[in-house]
């Protein structure tokens, strides 16, 4: 009971908990959740959001250091854009391998996650290491490159606004535009999309793969620019994997991603407090995330069964 109370307090107990803990943790989950949701929508099993996020974080850090004399108005967009490009490029390797050689993206994105981790481990001990050369991390980025906060006295930063805008844009894209509709039909029925709709399936999935990587890359840039202000080995505590739960719970709907990212963000913020105040390990949250995924999977199975059953009974009644 104490633990639950601590969890609630940590997530919603104060203005600070809400704006500076919950929403700050929600931010990367919205972006990576969108990355996974968009990819899955097109039938692209991108489980490499983690690696794409890391690529984005590295690029953003490098840009922040390179553009350190520039004003915020230039550095921040450059970091965001550079992060997206790097994420897209990292995803692009897997997308290219799939298109050119038919390599399963499940395996390739997984490999690329580990390659990204190795790359990260190298840059924080090599080219991007802080000047003293003692700690395996980058120097703190200059104030000009730190992303502006959205509220006075709170840690909520620009990345959150990016997340909301990207979610809205993704929703509009899928629901209203022709190219977004192509993404949906390619995911729901690739053969029919090609045969009945004349959709270029390979091109569509390639494009979505890049967009997905860009979302994850932006998450990396946003973490460096808005939260950590430096690059180090543990820049992502597995956001790329939690994102699968975020996207699934949202039923791959961009609007739902915001809600479920908020849910998981609150959980993580609360869990940190729970560990601090009640001594209950925060890893419990990971268990919870896993159970949510499994629950959604089982629920989907039961719903399909129920639907089949309704059809049978309806027919018998008729």
């Amino acid at each position: 009971m104490d633990a639950l109370l601590a969890l609630w307090d940590g997530a919603f107990g104060s203005a600070f908990a809400f704006w500076s803990a919950t929403l700050v943790r929600t931010t990367p989950l919205v972006l990576v959740g969108l990355a996974v949701a968009l990819a899955f929508r097109a039938g692209v099993l991108n489980i490499g959001a983690e690696g794409q996020l890391i690529a984005g974080a590295i690029a953003a850090t490098a840009l922040a250091q390179w553009l350190d004399v520039m004003p915020t108005i230039i550095t921040v967009p450059a970091m965001a854009f550079g992060g997206m490009l790097a994420g897209a490029a990292w995803a692009g390797i897997a997308a290219w391998l799939r298109r050119r050689f038919g390599v399963l993206e499940v395996i390739s994105t997984l490999m690329l996650n580990f390659i990204a981790l190795a790359l990260l481990s190298w840059v924080v001990r090599g080219p991007l290491q802080e000047p003293t050369g003692i700690y395996p991390q980058s120097a703190t980025i200059v104030a000009n490159a730190q992303w502006p906060f959205l509220l006075e006295g709170q840690r909520l930063h620009l990345g959150f606004a990016f997340g909301l805008m990207l979610a809205a844009a993704s929703w509009y894209w899928l629901a209203r535009t022709a190219s977004g509709f192509r993404v949906r039909v390619v995911g729901a029925g690739p053969r029919a999309a090609a045969s009945a709709g004349g959709v270029d399936v390979a091109r569509t999935t390639f494009g979505v793969f890049l967009v997905s990587g860009a979302c994850a890359g932006l998450a990396g840039a946003s973490e460096v620019g808005g939260v950590t202000w430096a690059l180090y080995d543990g820049i992502s505590p597995g956001y790329g994997y939690t994102a699968i739960a975020v996207a699934l719970l949202a039923r791959l709907d961009p609007r739902g991603v915001v809600v479920s990212a908020f849910f998981f963000g609150a959980l993580e913020a609360g869990a940190a407090a729970m560990q601090r105040d009640a001594g209950v390990p925060a890893v419990i949250v990971q268990v919870f995330v896993a159970l949510v995924i499994l629950g959604v999977l089982a629920g989907t199975h039961l719903r399909d069964r129920a639907r089949a059953w309704r059809l049978v009974t309806r027919r018998e009644a008729a």
């Binding site: 739960a245 268990v287 995924i293």
Partner: protein, 301 residues
């Protein structure tokens, strides 16, 4: 030079041993058509299971406990992908998270938040008389712990079982063409369950070996991606038992190289060697196109 090479080779074989267990289990699962991303979770479950059980009754019980924990977690995965026919990738990811989270929570609940410090008795390497005296490779191959020797038996046994028994045939047929296997009288569901239980046991063995033969303690997340590495190893080994064992050795050597380089004082970044096997796997996957040896039904419900 020999002073450096011998420890390097020894380290390579030692590092490869747990990887080989996990990868051989994954090989069996994939041959039945199931890609088990829950492997990482089963390995860490095996680590904790081994630690807890060995505390109760010594190393043999420790191995049994590790295997049981690996099997238990993989059984959760099996229920989802075989009985509920859910997506293998998503269910696997969830099971891995479940394993990583549960072990962390249980460990802290059992041994307090301090975590580190709790260690267990380890099994010692056994030098095989004669063979371990072979120059250069002798110590690497024949001055190891029992699990490594178990592999020397297991790999040829598995290779023979896959090709030389009807059960092996049925397993491969299930992974290639489930309907054909069923039409021929095999029971694909039972076969996949069996394959996953084996994969779980092997993952548990991987975890047990880590704890009882190499590290001597448990730490959160100590599986350190070995489950995912094992999946890469199976690909690199082209879905054969001997190939998988060899690929495990490649990965083991790559990880061991960093120590060698540090010892030699070379300035090449060791991360290069960590990344190399993954790059190799990707390159191989790309080159394999047209001569695909992956089970045709991999990942299908």
């Amino acid at each position: 030079m020999e002073v450096l090479i011998i420890p390097f080779l020894e380290a390579a074989v030692r590092t490869a041993t747990p990887l080989a267990f996990a990868a051989l289990g994954e090989l069996v699962a994939e041959r039945s058509g199931v890609i088990n991303l829950g492997l990482e979770g089963a390995i860490i479950a095996g680590c904790l299971g081994a630690l807890v059980a060995s505390g109760l009754g010594g190393p043999v019980i420790g191995f049994a406990g590790g295997i049981a924990a690996g099997v238990a977690l993989t059984a959760v995965f099996a229920v989802f992908v075989i009985n509920l026919r859910t997506d293998q990738i998503i269910a696997g990811t969830a099971v891995t998270m479940l394993g990583l989270g549960l072990t962390g929570a249980i460990y802290r609940a059992l041994y307090g938040t301090g975590g580190a410090g709790l260690s267990t008795a380890m099994i010692a390497p056994i030098a095989i008389p004669g063979l371990s005296a072979i120059p250069l490779i002798g110590p690497a191959l024949f001055r190891q712990t029992v699990p490594t020797y178990a592999l020397y038996v297991l790999v040829p046994l598995l290779a023979w079982w896959l090709r030389g028994t009807h059960a092996g045939l049925a397993l491969r047929a299930t992974g290639e063409n489930l309907e054909a296997a069923e039409a021929a009288g095999a029971a694909p569901r039972r076969i996949r369950w069996g394959a996953l239980l084996v994969a779980g046991a092997m993952a548990g063995l991987c975890g047990s070996t880590l704890v009882l033969a190499q590290v001597g303690t448990f730490s959160e997340g100590m599986s350190a991606g070995r489950g995912f590495i094992a999946i890469a190893i199976v690909v690199l080994g082209r879905w054969s038992a001997f190939g998988t064992a060899l690929a495990a050795l490649v990965f083991g050597a790559a990880f061991a190289l960093q120590y060698l380089f540090q010892a030699l004082g070379w300035s090449l970044p060791y991360q290069l060697f960590i990344a190399l096997p993954y790059v190799l796997t990707l390159a191989l996957l790309a080159l394999m196109r047209g001569r695909v040896s992956a089970p045709a039904g991999l990942g299908r419900a």
